[in-house]
């Protein structure tokens, strides 16, 4: 669904109930060799795996990810390299000790998360070979777990933990089985479309650089654990990104992007993609000639894609109950800082007019692509009210408890908790004309010459030059708020005149600013994004999220902030290109 299509798609808090509870029917457990081999090795390991004088495992889980992926792209109407891959990987989670204190939630001096025990499995359902690899991975995981438990005990024997939180939370066994999607990925069709979308820029002489990238993956997950939980789940994924970049006469870099998502390739809106490509190109070309915003403090109306991106970048990380691991004292300062929302449970974090619900059960057919029937721990999906009329009720969690949130909300996606479909709702939204009127009144009260309305923002996982990806990696482990630059905004004057802004960035923005939202629209914007919240996000040379990166759909109204500060970008302006673009400057140009 394109952002323009999703924009203003009606979804009210009152209609939420109608969308809830659409879960694919549970099937019978598949008879495949993979599940059979995992179960047999799991039973043997739980019964027999132990070293003399050492504790036996109390929990083992196996996850097999069978992934068929394509990454391709095009630039200036010609294809860039295509990567096709098919892989099947086993990951072992093994715990020794007891749920109150086990080998997890500890990070040693390497700063890296405890190395997951993974092995490559055969592509075919070869029982014997899957067992062999599972045996080796379990053996390695067990030895590593014993060592980590000993190291953790050694560090904590001289300290009393300020917060004694268990390492693992009990969960009722569950099961869910889906058939794998064995259809071949349509490489030729994908290539044709990215080439076609990229050709749009051959008619845009003011755009210096553009790429269209597509990622497709068919992932099938097989999971079994020693508590009796088992599931199989298909996570199909298709996305296309359009990026365009240019330089103004003075050299200032102007860029923009758009993304189109679907579960399967045939859900990707071709016409919407071509329209997005043109919009992105036209936006960049128009902003090239516009003035920067020097500095502005006052009322800001954040609408559409920008409302979703701003919420996702500034507030969403705070809604994740990520556990800060125990570390040796001398390395503790390099670890993640504490999420301030852990101390705000029961307190106000948003204005009273907003409620936030995470709901993985909404059907994908409604344009919500973040859902799933069970999370990566096999916990059945269910809606979670995170913020109720401005008050923080809980954080999204996994079976790894954090202070104040013991039980899993069923949100494990990858290494930690992530939202699924995040619904920011209100019972007191304004119609467009009323919201604009409210905005105009606020600007008048502030006495500023104009107000600022922001429509689009950059995204940290969509890199225009590699810098954003690098920053994400650096900031991955920290809790600092980082918001990308504004890619479409206007000054709005009292007489209704609008003036395009070339570039601007928010300064001193934190989640606290969201308490100063004074009004919101009644119609929400539905927007899907890829979101990798792990400490070490997967790196992609193409500058767009790797295939299979979790996706979140956000439904959020336009947000009117009483006061935000924007200024022109703080980076130096590079020199413009010495020569003109070869195509447009050549004899044809």
């Amino acid at each position: 669904m394109t952002e323009s299509e999703a924009h203003r798609k009606g979804l009210f808090a009152a209609t939420l109930g109608a969308l809830v509870g659409v879960i694919p029917p549970f099937g019978a457990e598949p008879e495949g060799a993979t599940m059979h081999a995992l179960r047999d090795e799991l039973a043997r390991s739980m019964a027999e795996l132990r070293m003399d004088g050492m504790p036996a495992p109390y929990f083992i889980a196996y996850t097999v990810v069978d992934a068929d992926t394509i990454e391709t792209g095009a630039s200036f109407g010609a294809l860039l390299p295509t990567t096709e891959s098919r892989s099947r990987r086993l990951q072992v989670e093994l715990r020794v000790g007891e749920p109150a204190f086990d080998n997890t939630n500890y990070r040693d001096r390497s700063f890296l998360p405890t190395r997951a025990q993974t092995r490559t499995l055969p592509l075919a359902d070869d029982y014997q070979e899957i067992r062999r690899q599972t045996w080796l991975a379990t053996d390695a995981a067990y030895k590593q777990a014993l060592e980590m438990l000993a190291k953790k005990r050694a560090v904590l024997q001289n300290e009393t933990r300020s917060e004694d939180v268990a390492d693992f939370h009990a969960q009722e066994p569950s099961s869910h089985f889906e058939e794998p999607d064995t259809s071949a990925l349509p490489v030729a069709e994908v290539r044709d479309l990215v080439r076609q979308a990229s050709s749009v820029f051959v008619d845009m002489p003011l755009v210096y650089n553009s790429t269209v990238n597509a990622t497709l993956s068919n992932r099938h997950i097989t999971y079994v654990n020693s508590e009796g939980t088992a599931f199989t789940r298909s996570d199909p994924h298709a996305a296309v990104w359009v990026r365009a970049r240019t330089q103004a006469e003075d050299g200032a870099v102007v860029d923009d992007f758009a993304a189109v998502h679907g579960r399967h390739w045939d859900e990707v809106d071709r016409d919407g993609l071509l329209a997005s490509a043109r919009e992105v190109g036209e936006n960049v070309a128009a902003r090239r000639a516009a003035p920067d915003l020097t500095r502005y403090t006052g009322p800001v109306l954040v609408t559409g894609q920008a409302a979703a991106e701003l919420f996702a970048q500034a507030v969403m990380p705070r809604l994740l109950g990520k556990r800060a691991p125990d570390m040796t004292p001398q390395f503790r300062r390099f670890g993640a800082s504490r999420n301030p929302f852990l101390d705000k449970l029961g307190g106000r974090v948003l204005p009273r007019l907003l409620t936030v619900v995470d709901d993985p059960t909404i059907a994908a057919a409604d344009g919500f692509l973040g859902g799933f029937p069970v999370d990566d721990d096999g916990v059945p999906a269910a809606p979670t009210t995170l913020v109720e009329r401005g008050i923080l009720r809980t954080l999204l969690s996994t079976r790894n408890p954090v202070p104040g949130v013991d039980a899993s909300t069923g949100n494990r996606r990858g290494a930690g908790p992530l939202p699924s479909n995040l619904l920011v709702t209100t019972a007191r939204g304004l119609a467009p004309a009323d919201l604009n009127e409210e905005f105009a009144q606020l600007v008048a009260e502030w006495g500023t010459e104009y107000g600022v309305v922001v429509h689009r923002l950059g995204n940290p996982s969509v890199s225009q030059d590699g810098a954003s990806t690098a920053r994400m990696i650096v900031l991955g482990a920290s809790q600092e708020t980082s918001v990308e630059g504004v890619t479409l905004a206007y000054k709005v004057f009292a007489d209704g005149r609008r003036e395009l802004i070339r570039n601007a960035e928010f300064t001193a923005l934190s989640e606290a600013a969201f308490k100063d939202i004074v009004a919101v629209s009644e119609a929400p914007n539905v927007y899907t994004m890829s979101y990798d919240a792990s400490d070490f996000p997967s790196f992609s040379f193409s500058g767009v999220p790797a295939p299979g990166t979790p996706r979140i759909t956000i439904s959020i109204p336009d947000l009117l902030f009483e006061e935000l500060t924007l200024r022109k970008p703080s980076e130096n302006i590079p020199r413009p290109p010495v020569a003109g673009h070869p195509y447009f400057d050549d004899e044809r140009g």
């Binding site: 047999d40 096709e84 499995l121 014997q128 070979e129 062999r132 045996w135 390695a140 290109p577 020569a579």
Partner: protein, 575 residues
């Protein structure tokens, strides 16, 4: 002390315009048969040089290289397919230089932590379709980026030259070479993937009957590298090479935790050049028997004494201790050990030993040599270089970075896509005049053992690879990692042993090479260094060294698996 030398601007410009007119006139006659990619590169190179000529500090040299890699690979582990793919990519490398041949922006910044002004690796993706406009767009953007980078670097270089002591090596930064024009035919890959999926599964299957063997895989890789190169000296070159490689690996673990890997690596320019099924099956059988024997083999303690290195072991040995030390730039850079810089025309090996590097030789006896090529990554024709002639050091491997006494390249400026080229090895060939037979060489070893009163000598049969340290800050040494070593007793009996690495310092070790036999063996592999991984070959007879040193191999502290292997649905060590 060096200073940048700038001529009057008009003269500089006139020379450049003249040379470009010449190049463009020649191109017209050439265009009809020139590949589209080269045409796009030539057109953009000419336009860039013209556009940048108006700048205060224009480039004096510009080259583009587009590399296309196609890799068809299938892998299996213990008889089951684990991957199968066919991928193609293209990347662009730009070498843009400002200043002049004597001093330019690529000069080493002495005293800096990061000695080279530009990063050693950057990957710029290029379109995989032969679309002139799309290719020129990428060339344009990267040229502009590299020009601005070069200006920044040159400012730093000029300052560094002025504030530091005079450099030892007075040669310039870039040699003058003719611009070659050549079009090699495309080298298509001819692999039936389904057929090879079955083959690699079959090759790796026999390992699955042994619980002690913890990893086992077979991989076929068909790899084509097509390169298009143009430069402002008028070069326009298309080269294409396909290498087929079958790689079988397996490993076990001794009770003391030591990892014991073995490999079989077959390389050829043709699929037919790979061994047949029967040969591979026999080699796999031998690998299994050897792995099982290695688990039980005794560990050798640190030792010095006489040893024989088999042909492949000797090839790797020469590659590490000699090859890397005769790479030209290592005689120039101030942080390098420069082992051989002042030893030209001195004896370093016995008189009957010669060593040469020959990228023009594609085959030796029945072996393909994967380090061969017609043109290097700087557009210079690869040439045979006699580095040691009858025991005397004569020459170095040269890229376009000159050193004192060696003003020109001999076609060894090599790199992996995305890296900057430096002098690298090609096909190393050790030639021994009046060689001994293998039996006579072993007899010489036994005599040496007896003469020195040693309890045994060593015979190194297979080598995994090695590394060498050529810098100054830590001792200049090498480490060669054997996979298969035998003790040779004074009575001629041999015993399989494990747990040692071959170590030493280069000059001492060279002085102890005594003799070679008449059986040439070839090691084909990939050499990794500052300009990335490049295919190389090392061919040598077995050699006798009067004294080598071995040290304990670093070893895993992990126990073997606690539970027995779950083979055949049951749990036992072997079926």
């Amino acid at each position: 002390m060096l200073h940048p030398k700038f001529g009057p601007p008009w003269r500089k410009l006139a020379c450049r315009v003249l040379s470009w007119l010449t190049a463009l006139l020649a191109l017209d006659a050439y265009a009809s048969e020139t590949p589209v990619v080269l045409q796009a590169m030539q057109a953009e190179l000419a336009r860039s040089m013209e556009a940048l000529a108006g700048e205060e500090q224009p480039p004096y040299f510009l080259s583009y290289e587009i590399t296309e890699l196609r890799n068809v690979g299938v892998s299996a582990s213990f008889g089951a397919l684990t991957s199968s793919g066919d991928n193609r990519s293209r990347g662009l490398d730009v070498d843009l230089r400002v200043g002049g041949h004597k001093l330019d922006n690529t000069r080493q910044i002495r005293g800096a932590r990061n000695a080279f002004p530009s990063s050693l690796w950057s990957l710029v993706a290029a379109p995989v379709e032969n679309d002139v406009d799309a290719i020129r767009s990428v060339l344009w953007r990267e040229t502009d980026r590299q020009y601005k980078l070069a200006m920044e670097q040159f400012t730093n270089v000029v300052t560094n030259v002025q504030v530091k002591v005079e450099a030892e090596d007075q040669a310039g930064d870039f040699s003058r070479e003719p611009g070659h024009r050549a079009i090699e035919e495309a080298a298509p890959i001819d692999v039936d993937r389904a057929d090879w999926e079955a083959k690699v599964a079959r090759y790796s299957a026999p390992f699955s009957a042994y619980g002690e063997i913890l990893d086992a895989s077979a991989r076929l890789s068909a790899f084509t590298e097509t390169r298009w190169f143009v430069n402002s000296d008028g070069a326009a070159i298309q080269t294409a090479e396909t290498i087929y490689r079958l790689f079988i690996s397996a490993s076990t673990k001794a009770e003391d935790g030591m990892e014991l890997p073995l490999y079989r690596d077959y390389g050829s320019f043709t699929l037919d050049g790979l061994p047949d099924d029967e040969t591979v099956a026999g080699d796999v059988r031998t690998m299994i028997d050897t792995l099982l024997a290695l688990r039980e083999a005794p560990v050798v303690e640190p030792y010095t004494g006489p040893a024989i290195l088999s042909g492949t072991a000797s090839g790797v040995f020469f590659h590490e201790i000699l090859g890397h030390r005769v790479e030209g730039h290592r005689q120039k850079l101030e942080d390098e050990g420069q082992t051989f810089k002042k030893m030209r025309n001195e004896r370093v090996l016995p008189e009957n030993f010669s060593v040469f590097f020959d990228p023009t030789q594609k085959r030796l006896a029945s072996f393909d040599l994967v380090g061969s090529y017609r043109y290097d990554n700087q557009g210079v024709a690869g040439r045979r270089v006699a580095v040691i002639d009858k025991g005397v050091l004569k020459n170095f491997l040269m890229s376009r970075m000159p050193i004192d006494g060696f003003p020109n390249s001999n076609g060894h400026g090599r790199k992996q896509m995305g890296y900057k080229p430096v002098a690298r090895q090609s096909n190393l060939i050790v030639h021994v005049e009046n060689p001994l037979t293998s039996e006579a060489l072993k007899a010489r070893l036994i005599s040496a053992i007896q003469a020195e009163g040693k309890p045994f000598g060593l015979r190194f049969v297979e080598i995994q690879g090695g590394f060498t340290i050529t810098g100054r800050t830590i001792p200049n040494s090498f480490n060669v990692t054997p996979l298969l070593v035998y003790r040779v007793y004074p009575d001629g009996r041999e015993e399989l042993v494990r747990g040692v690495d071959l170590i030493g310092t280069p000059l001492t070790t060279f002085s102890r090479i005594v003799a070679g036999d008449d059986q040439i063996a070839v090691f084909n592999g990939t050499c990794g260094a500052e300009s990335g991984g490049v295919p190389v070959a090392a061919a040598s007879p077995a050699i006798l060294v009067s004294q080598i040193e071995v040290q304990k191999k670093s070893k895993s502290q992990e126990r073997p698996p606690l539970l027995p292997a779950p083979i055949g649905g049951q749990t036992h060590d072997r079926i």
